[in-house]
């Protein structure tokens, strides 16, 4: 199929349709509005149901219901809207239901602004809602990847019966790029025999619930969820190693920032400095093992984010004290320029020489 030009938000919607999503519940917020708008216009033509809920809380609970009935379902929002959804997300994780949540991140805290940010790293990877659960978090760096990972997200959600998040900063939602829609990769999925599809008088009713008052039973559920998460950590980690043969300096960056870092690496090369990049594609599970593959030539790691350094802790866990970890970030919707990062890189290398 020929490549077409799409905006990130539209492309994610189109990918969801292609992946067999049948329900979309959402509530408007910039900079992700093109996604529900696209679904409102296109979803019905493909047998999907789009519904604009009265709030983010309502939308995520509609997702809870549809997922409980075994349907492929998605919601999308942006940072403060995702904050509102946290109770529902925790319930969905507690009831072990599959769904896909898209967060097109804007600057925070609070209502913040509408320009791109990466300051929902903690919110996405450290829970957000209550209890011991995790979301699988995909962080695409370009629109082809956004499309491919959105399709994959539905498979992974169904495979593990766990909510999955596609996390793009505002730029990923708003920018345009050429895209090709390939057939989604399919996994061997277990049948959804737990779904509330009606007993037809032939079996006991299935119950979707996250309330377990008996402590022993709740502990059992927790252990089951943890076992599942361990499998995800073993099997679903994704990352890219870029120019990592003999780097003097290793960057760690994801999403839009990783693209800027790639330009930074070119600029540094022209000044005789060889730098590489570890780009996490899954933020959870985090690619800790990538840091074990860093060659001896590396003297330091520089984490670059559009946040105040929320990923730095994971980078430090990954490198286990073997190299100094520095940080450069812009926030509030400001985007770092390659030259700013070059300056910080040189400052850091000067300090460790």
């Amino acid at each position: 199929m020929a490549r077409i030009l799409m905006k990130g938000n539209e492309a994610i919607g189109a990918a969801a349709i292609k992946a067999g999503c049948k329900f979309f519940f959402g509530y408007p917020i910039t900079p992700q509005n093109e996604l529900p708008e696209f679904m409102a216009r296109e979803f019905g033509k493909h047998g999907g149901t789009f519904l604009q809920a009265e709030s983010e809380v309502a939308a995520i609970n509609m997702v809870y219901g549809a997922a409980g009935a075994g349907a492929r379902v998605m919601t999308s929002s942006s940072s403060p809207g995702i904050a509102l959804k946290q109770e529902g997300i925790s319930y969905i994780a507690g009831a072990e239901l599959p769904c896909v949540i898209v967060n097109i991140v804007r600057g925070g805290p609070g209502l913040g602004g509408i320009q791109p940010a990466q300051s929902d790293y903690y919110q996405s990877t450290r829970g957000g809602g209550n209890g011991d659960y995790r979301l699988v978090v995909y962080a695409p760096a370009n629109l082809q990847e956004a499309v491919d990972l959105t399709m994959e997200a539905f498979e992974v959600a169904d495979y593990y019966r766990n909510p999955v998040m596609v996390l793009g900063d505002g730029m990923i939602g708003q920018m345009m790029e050429p895209i090709e829609f390939k057939e989604p990769k399919k996994r061997e999925l277990p049948s959804k025999d737990w779904a509330t599809t009606g007993t037809k008088g032939k079996r006991k009713p299935n119950i979707i619930n996250s309330l377990r008052l008996a402590p022993a039973e709740l502990e059992k559920l927790n252990h089951k969820i943890q076992d599942k998460l361990k499998k995800i950590e073993e099997n679903e980690v994704m990352y890219e190693m870029y120019n990592m043969e003999k780097p003097e300096l290793v960057f760690c960056a994801y999403g839009t920032t990783s693209r800027i870092v790639k330009n930074t690496i070119e600029l540094l090369k022209s000044e005789g400095i060889n730098a590489g990049l570890i780009r996490p594609i899954t933020l959870w599970p985090f690619p800790y093992k990538a840091f074990e593959e860093i060659p001896e030539t590396a003297k330091a790691i520089l984490t670059v984010e559009m946040s105040c350094g929320q990923m730095v802790d994971d980078v430090k866990i990954g490198i286990s004290g073997k190299l100094p970890v520095g940080f450069y970030g812009r926030v509030g919707g400001m985007i770092p320029s390659p030259q700013e990062i070059v300056d910080k890189a040189k400052e850091m290398l000067g300090g460790v020489k």
Partner: protein, 224 residues
């Protein structure tokens, strides 16, 4: 080139490249006209708006009319500055109006429709044959009709801006030109410009309908 009527209204399907064309047009126009204004009428897009390029446009002496709050980016209200009316009425201005996408964006134009008379304005529809929705003549015409109905203004020219960003080839532009010709013949509206990145524009056949309009990517950073 650029010898169009005093008010140039740039409209089209959202994502067709209207803003990039409008910014390029204004930059070129500033070389030959004394008093150029670019008004950002986009009430649809939160990102990639012409007002973000205020600095480079300002250096060329172009008056940029964007947010009445003076914000270059980040404004989340679909508001249009009252200042837009000045260069529409003041005939000493050469004006480029960068309008939001689709009929939804074009609705902002309707407020000024009584100011647009035959001979004082041109309304150019930017078409990208690589955008879903305007890949066929039927789709492109549907968009044009919707925009004309919402804005109450007739389109006077077509711009073939078919591209895939930096990966655009001559073939893309030529395929877009076939679409533009079909639309042009169907609606009896001429193709005014064929816009493409300079490196592509250089390789285009000289006998195309419409003037070849080489553009720079002002709206896209190097890392994009």
């Amino acid at each position: 080139m650029l010898n169009d009527n005093r008010i140039r209204i740039i409209i089209g399907h959202y994502g067709s490249g209207k803003t990039e064309f409008a910014v390029n047009y204004a930059m070129k126009l500033a070389d030959k006209a004394k008093k150029v204004a670019l008004a950002d009428l986009d009430v649809v897009n939160p990102y990639f708006r012409s007002r973000e390029k205020q600095d480079i446009l300002g250096e060329k002496g172009i008056e940029v009319i964007g947010s009445s709050l003076g914000m270059k980016s980040g404004a989340d209200l679909p508001a249009v500055s009252s200042r837009v009316l000045a260069p529409i009425q003041d005939a000493s201005y050469d004006l480029v109006l960068d309008v939001g996408g689709d009929a939804v964006g074009a609705r902002a134009l309707a407020r000024y429709y009584s100011s647009f008379k035959d001979g004082n304005y041109d309304m150019f529809c930017v078409i990208n044959a690589n955008r879903p929705g305007t890949q066929t003549a039927e789709g492109a015409i549907e968009h044009i009709k919707g925009i004309e109905a919402a804005s109450r203004i007739r389109i006077t020219g077509i711009i073939n801006n078919t591209h895939l960003l930096r990966e655009t080839t001559v073939d893309d532009v030529l395929r877009g030109q076939e679409l533009a010709i079909e639309v042009s013949e169907n609606l009896s509206i001429p193709i005014k410009y064929v816009s493409a990145l300079e490196k592509v524009a250089r390789q285009l056949p000289r006998d195309m309908e419409g003037q070849i309009f080489p553009i720079n990517m002002y709206m896209r950073e190097d890392w994009m």
